[in-house]
C-alpha cells in the first residue's frame, strides 16, 4: 500500500463533528508514511502522547468514548517514586525518578501551551509509621531508598509531628522525601487536552472496538478510521479491543476507592504536604492541594471490571486516615471515586512499537501513570517519529512480552 492509499484511508467514513478537521490543523501537513496517528484512549498516557506527537508535526486523532472512565480522573496525583519504591522493582523506580526530574519543565511548558494551571506542588512527602511493626517496614524501605541513592531523611515521631502537627501522637517515626511532589491529575488532563487542541490534535468521541493489521480502527458507532500508526492507550479498557495479534498482555484492573474532601472555609491547612502512612500494615495517604482539596485514599483491590463503591473500601480508607490524622473527621466529603488501575504482569508500563507494524502501546502504567506522564510523552514521541524508544524507556518496550 502506498502513501496515497493510506491518506485515503484516514477517514473511510467521517466521524461526527470531525468532517474536514484535517483542514483545521495548524501544523504543516506532510507526506511521511508515519504522519497519521490514531491514539485510542484519552487518559494521561493517550493525551500526552497525542500532544507530543502533534508537536512533532504528526496528524493526531484521539478516540475516547463520551462515558470514558479513565483512571487518570480518579488518581490522587502523587509524584512519589521514593515512597513508592518496592523491592525487586528498582528499574521502575529509577524510571519514576527520571520522570519526576522532567516534571518542572514539563509543567512549565504545558501550562504555557494550554493556559491551564495543573496544581503542581513541590512540598515533598512525609511517610510515617503508626506502630512498631509499621516502623520496621519503613526502616526496610528507607534502606532501599538509601541503596538506590534516593535522598530521603529518617525522622523521629517527634520530628514528624513537628512538620505535621495534626498527626496522631502515636506516630512512631517517618521518612521525609523532599523530592516526592504532587499534581492535580484532572487539571493535568484538561491542560493536555487544551495543549493538544492548540497543536492540532483532533477528537473523535466514540469507543474503539477493533484495530486491524492494516491499522484501521473500527469504532462502536460503525465508523472506521485509517491510520499510519495506532497507539493503544486505553488502560485496562483496552482488554476489550480486538487486535490482529495478541500483542498486549492482559492488563488486570486494580480497583482503587478514594475520597475527595475539602476543608471548611477559613480553616488552617490540615496537612502541609503529602502525608502517607502505614497504619497497622495498611497504607493510606492524604494529598493536599492549593485550592483546599485533600484526596484521601486508596484501596487496592483485584475484582475485575468492578467499579462499585463499597462500604468496606471506604471504611478501610477512613479508618486508617482517622487513626493517622484524627482531624480528618472535620473534612467535608465532596466526592467518592473509584477507578481501575491497569496492572501489567510485572507492574511495568508497556511503551512503543509492538510486533504488529505501526501498532504502539502506551499502557499498563498501574499505580504510576501520573508520575510517568512526562517520560511517557517523551518515549512515545520518539517511538512515533523514529520507531525506537529513548534509553530511559527502553526496558519498558511493549514487545518485551514476546520472548
Amino acid at each position: 500500500m502506498n502513501a496515497a492509499d493510506r491518506t485515503n484511508l484516514i477517514r473511510i467514513m467521517p466521524a461526527k463533528g470531525v468532517e474536514g478537521s484535517a483542514m483545521r490543523t495548524s501544523h504543516p501537513t506532510n507526506d511521511r508514511r508515519d504522519s497519521r496517528v490514531v491514539v485510542v484512549g484519552g487518559g494521561l498516557a493517550g493525551r500526552v502522547t497525542a500532544w507530543r506527537a502533534a508537536q512533532q508535526g504528526l496528524d493526531v486523532t484521539v478516540v475516547e468514548p463520551s462515558d470514558a472512565r479513565s483512571a487518570s480522573r480518579v488518581a490522587a496525583g502523587m509524584l512519589t517514586p521514593a515512597t513508592e519504591a518496592v523491592f525487586g522493582e528498582e528499574p521502575l523506580m529509577e524510571f519514576g525518578v527520571y520522570s519526576a526530574s522532567l516534571y518542572a519543565d514539563f509543567v512549565a511548558e504545558l501550562e504555557a501551551a494550554s493556559g491551564v494551571p495543573v496544581g503542581h506542588r513541590s512540598t515533598g512527602t512525609l511517610m510515617v509509621a503508626f506502630d512498631r511493626d509499621d516502623l520496621a517496614v519503613l526502616t526496610d524501605l528507607h534502606e532501599l531508598q538509601q541503596r538506590l541513592g534516593i535522598p530521603t531523611e529518617r525522622l523521629t515521631g517527634r520530628e514528624c509531628r513537628g512538620l505535621e502537627p495534626m498527626l496522631a501522637p502515636s506516630v512512631r517515626g517517618g521518612v521525609l522525601a523532599s523530592a516526592d511532589h504532587s499534581v492535580d491529575p484532572r487539571r493535568l488532563l484538561d491542560a493536555l487536552a487544551a495543549a493538544g487542541a492548540h497543536a492540532g490534535v483532533h477528537e473523535v468521541t466514540d469507543r474503539a472496538v477493533e484495530v486491524t493489521g492494516s491499522l484501521r480502527v473500527h469504532l462502536a458507532g460503525g465508523e472506521t478510521l485509517g491510520a499510519d500508526q495506532v497507539v493503544l492507550a486505553a488502560g485496562c479498557w483496552g482488554n476489550g479491543i480486538t487486535l490482529p495479534e495478541p500483542v498486549v498482555p492482559t492488563l488486570r484492573p486494580v480497583k482503587g476507592q478514594l475520597l475527595r474532601t475539602r476543608l471548611p472555609g477559613g480553616s488552617e491547612p490540615l496537612v502541609h504536604r503529602t502525608v502517607r502512612g502505614l497504619v497497622k500494615g495498611s497504607p493510606v495517604y492524604l494529598v493536599p492541594r492549593e485550592d483546599g482539596e485533600i484526596v484521601v485514599g486508596a484501596t487496592q483491590e483485584e475484582r475485575g471490571h468492578d467499579e462499585s463503591l463499597t462500604v468496606g473500601g471506604l471504611w478501610q480508607v477512613l479508618r486508617d486516615a482517622r487513626e493517622l490524622v484524627p482531624g480528618v473527621t472535620e473534612l467535608e466529603v465532596t466526592e467518592a471515586c473509584v477507578g481501575l488501575r491497569p496492572g501489567s504482569p510485572d507492574n511495568e508500563p508497556l511503551l512503543g512499537p509492538t510486533r504488529v507494524p505501526g501498532l504502539h502501546l502506551a499502557a499498563g502504567h498501574f499505580r504510576h501513570g501520573v508520575l510517568l506522564t512526562p517520560a511517557t510523552g517523551e518515549a512515545m514521541a520518539q517511538a512515533l517519529t523514529e520507531g525506537s524508544l529513548p534509553s530511559p524507556a527502553r526496558r519498558f518496550s511493549a514487545d518485551r512480552e514476546d520472548t
Binding site: 496492572g343 504482569p345 510485572d346
Partner: protein
Amino acid sequence: MFDPHVDDPFTIAGTAFSSRLITGTGGAPSIDVLEEALVTSGTELTTVALRHVSPTQEGSVWDVLRRNKIRPLPNTAGCFTAADAVRTARLGREALETDWVKLEVIADERTLLPDPVELLEAAETLVDEGFTVLPYTNDDPVLARRLEQVGCAAVMPLAAPIGSGLGIRNPHNLELIVEQTEVPVIVDAGIGTASDAALAMELGCDAVLLATAVTRAQEPGLMAAAMRDAVRAGRAARLAGRIPVRRYAQASSPMP
C-alpha cells in the same frame, strides 16, 4: 532428585500431592514475581482470598494457577461470622467449580486470630453442604479435635498470627494435635523463615501453608526455593528419626 522417603505423597480427601508446601498469594508485589515464586516453590495447591481477588479478575493470580496447573484453594479471608464465611464459600464454589475451601473466620482485625465458635459452626454447615473443608484454626488441640469430628478434611493450626512471621509459638500444642489427628495436619500462618517450616515438618505436620513469608520477602523467588527445601528437609528429618537429646557430650567414636 526424587527421594521416596522424602517425597512420599500426602493425601487430602483422596487427592494425592507430592509437594508438602501449600502456598498463599497475598502480598506479592506483582503477578510475575508471584508466578516465579509459586513455580520455584513446587507447590501443587495454592490458596486465594475470594474476597480480595474476584474469580472474574482478568490477568490475575487465577490465570497463574491455571497455566501452571496448580490446584486453586479458595479461602474465606476477611469473614468475621459463620454466615459470612458460608456465603463466601458458596460463591467460590459456583465461580470456581471446586468443593474445596480453606475456611477462615477471623475474630478481629488486630490479631486476625480465628474465632473458634464461629469457625466450628461454619465448618459444620459447609461439611453438610458437601464442601471439602480445610479450616484455619488456633493451635488448640480440643478445637482441632472438634473440627475433625464434624468432618473437616484436614486441620490447619496456626504457628503464630497471620503475617506475623513469628514462627512456631507453641510446638507442644502442635505435637499434641499431630498425635491425635487422623486427617492431615497443616501448619497455616505465622511462618517467618525456612527454619520455621522445617521445624513444623520435624514436629510431624503433614504440610506447611505459607504466603507472606515468601511474597513479602525482599527476593520472593529465592525465599520460595528456601521454603521448598526446608519442607523437604524437615520431612526427611522426621522420617529419619532424630537422635535423643542428651545433656552431656557423647563421643561419636569410642575413646581410645
